[in-house]
């Protein structure tokens, strides 16, 4: 069974009224398919506006109204069992700044339907995993950028997901925090967790991912093993072009 299987997904943000007024449909994703093997760290690469974030939102059930199918460990989305097997760390620091790390973890733990005992046990574990145990009772607003990123990851890990979705998890962090995050991801993967990593940092993808999907203009342009690529940045530019993506 695959951890994630996406087949023939098409999605556009335009409303029907927009379509008729502009005369055309702008697809964020067009007939997009990909899959992630269980137990892998899979890279999702693409230029700005390629459709990576849209894809992440569709996988996590945030966006509806698409055509095609999404399966998480065999469960067709939208499905509560499938949702609870996903952990998601969005690109933005999606935390409550006026709450402490523990308060954030408790809040999201309740949203994930964990019991108070489970929340307490798992909070200790994820704080230790992300190196934040000593800062658990501090307000998140007092955290450095790297600490906030690590807590963003900790919240995603709280309910012990089987599939972890990471959108640019190392943006704006120092090398120390970045290495800590890589180390954490490797350990999680070694314990059996499947990881889908969306990133712009080629070295990051080449360094920790074993397979890759390249997306551009809403379409899949490459899907295969990382070992098949010699120079990822060169490969990326060959497949997606050198022109600026300002549209």
């Amino acid at each position: 069974m695959k951890a994630l299987e996406i087949s023939g997904i098409s999605f556009c943000y335009n409303s029907p009224a927009d379509k008729s007024s502009s005369g055309g449909i702008e697809f964020a994703l067009r007939n997009f398919s990909m899959s992630v093997e269980k137990g892998k760290i899979h890279a999702l690469l693409g230029p700005n506006g390629a459709g990576k974030t849209t894809l992440m939102r569709i996988i996590t059930g945030v966006l509806r109204g698409y055509s095609g199918d999404v399966f998480i460990f065999g469960n067709k989305m939208p499905d509560n069992t499938a949702l609870m097997s996903i952990g998601c760390a969005p690109q933005a620091i999606s935390l409550y700044m006026s709450l402490t790390a523990l308060e954030n973890l408790h809040f999201f733990g309740v949203m994930a339907n964990l019991s108070d005992e489970q929340i307490a046990t798992r909070s200790d574990a994820v704080l230790a995993q992300t190196g934040l145990t000593d800062h658990a009772k501090k307000l998140v607003s007092t955290y450095s950028g790297g600490m906030q990123r690590r807590l963003n990851l900790a919240v995603a890990l709280l309910h012990s997901p089987k599939l972890l979705l990471l959108d640019e998890p190392t943006v704006g962090v120092d090398p120390q925090s970045r290495n800590h995050i890589y180390e954490t991801l490797r350990n999680l993967n070694a314990s059996g967790m499947t990881i889908l990593l969306s990133t712009h940092i080629m070295e990051e993808a080449a360094h920790i991912c074993s397979s890759i999907t390249l997306v551009d203009r809403g379409e899949m342009v490459f899907d295969g093993a990382m070992s098949a690529i010699d120079n990822l940045e060169k490969f990326f530019l060959e497949k997606t072009g050198r022109g600026l993506r300002d549209d």
Partner: protein, 373 residues
């Protein structure tokens, strides 16, 4: 599960709100300060007699005849009047510019013969109520002097007498300012409420919530309930201060009326209207700047129209009609029904119906416009 999630939402919102000093200042200290200062400012306006104030008056007796001297004596000896001398070198035409006096009375030559009338000049910014009182005083005193009557008030007392109900209490400004500024502050909840919603939308926490099996209805209720509770707390706090603290600090009585329990449905409906307004602003605004501007401007405009800034009875007829479009007007009138008019619930009910309609309209429009992402 939903109950636990809702409890957690309420807890989270409360923690965020009570850790934000600016929000606390806005929701609790601003209305308290307004209640104190506006009560003091309105103290004279709402009294049924000239209160704690003597009107500074310059009197120029150009006649110096016995009758003119008697009139001058009667004017300056009246308790309402504080005689002020024209400062040396100051022209009487400039007396108001210097702020030394608010009334100038000239007893001209020829007054005794009835050829020239007594002249009264008022400071242009002088309160109309005081102006009427001074005009009435001058009329009485001049009639007394000219017609040789000793005490006109005693004669008039036999002709006109003012009757009031036995238990009728003259309303104190506190009875108007407490509900007025409590409602005003309750409508200001729209600011933190809409900012909170937009922040969560922008920083991705809302998106993150949708990755769990949490329904949009639970999320919406989780945002509404805490602010509804805060609204009720706001009113209870204002009422507590108005009843137990303010009367001692500013020596102004506060009566809660004979049907105190009516406050419960009134406050619950007003809180629904204010949270509805907050939800509407949250769905209308696209940026944080827009939320503050829309919420603050909306609350102030509704306050002005609704008789918070300028009492409804002082407004012109047109404005009194216009006031009816403001939910704050209906809320204020409902509270005044309880505090001042001792009204039956059937009298209050239509006002609550208007407020409920406003709340429903806000929630309906917000529901149609809401974009979670």
């Amino acid at each position: 599960m939903i109950k636990r999630q809702l409890t957690e939402f309420v807890k989270k919102e409360m923690l965020i709100m009570f850790r934000d000093k600016q929000t606390i200042l806005l929701l609790f200290f601003m209305p308290l300060a307004l209640i104190f200062f506006m009560t003091l400012a309105y103290k004279g306006v709402y009294a049924d007699k000239i209160y704690e104030k003597q009107i500074p008056l310059v009197i120029e007796n150009e006649s110096k005849t016995p009758k003119a001297n008697l009139l001058e004596k009667k004017i300056v000896s009246n308790k309402m009047i504080k005689r002020v001398d024209l400062p040396p070198g100051v022209d009487k035409d400039c007396i108001f510019e210097q702020g030394k006096a608010q009334v100038l009375v000239i007893i001209p030559k020829g007054f005794e013969e009835g050829t020239k009338p007594v002249e009264i000049y008022f400071d242009p910014v002088f309160d109309t109520g005081y102006k009427i009182a001074v005009r009435s005083l001058m009329t009485s005193l001049t009639v007394e002097v000219v017609m040789g009557i000793e005490n006109i008030d005693a004669i008039v007392a036999n002709l006109i007498t003012e009757k009031t109900k036995k238990d009728m209490i003259v309303p104190s400004p506190l009875q108007l300012t407490v509900p007025a500024y409590a409602i005003f502050a309750m409508f200001f909840i729209a600011i933190p409420m809409s900012i909170g919603f937009l922040k969560e939308k922008n920083d991705g926490t809302l998106q993150r919530l949708f990755t769990y099996s949490v329904s949009p209805n639970a999320i919406a209720l989780g945002k509404i309930i805490p602010y509804y509770v805060i609204n009720v707390i706001q009113f209870v706090l204002m009422l507590f201060v108005g009843t137990f603290i303010a009367p001692y600090l500013i020596d102004t009585p506060f009566q809660t009326g004979t049907h105190l329990w009516h406050l419960i449905p009134v406050t619950l409906v007003v809180a629904a209207a204010t949270t509805g307004f907050g939800v509407l602003i949250a769905t209308l605004a696209k940026t944080l700047e827009q939320t503050s501007t829309l919420a603050a401007t909306g609350a102030i405009l509704m306050g002005v129209l609704g008789g918070i800034m300028v009492p409804h009875f002082v407004m012109s007829h047109t404005m009194q009609k216009l006031a009816m479009i403001s939910p704050i007007f209906w809320a204020h009138q409902a509270y005044l029904d309880v505090f001042l008019r001792n009204a039956n619930f059937s009298t209050i009910l239509p006002k609550l119906a208007v407020l409920s309609l406003f709340a429903l309209a806000c929630f309906f429009i917000a529901g149609r416009r809401i974009k979670w992402m």
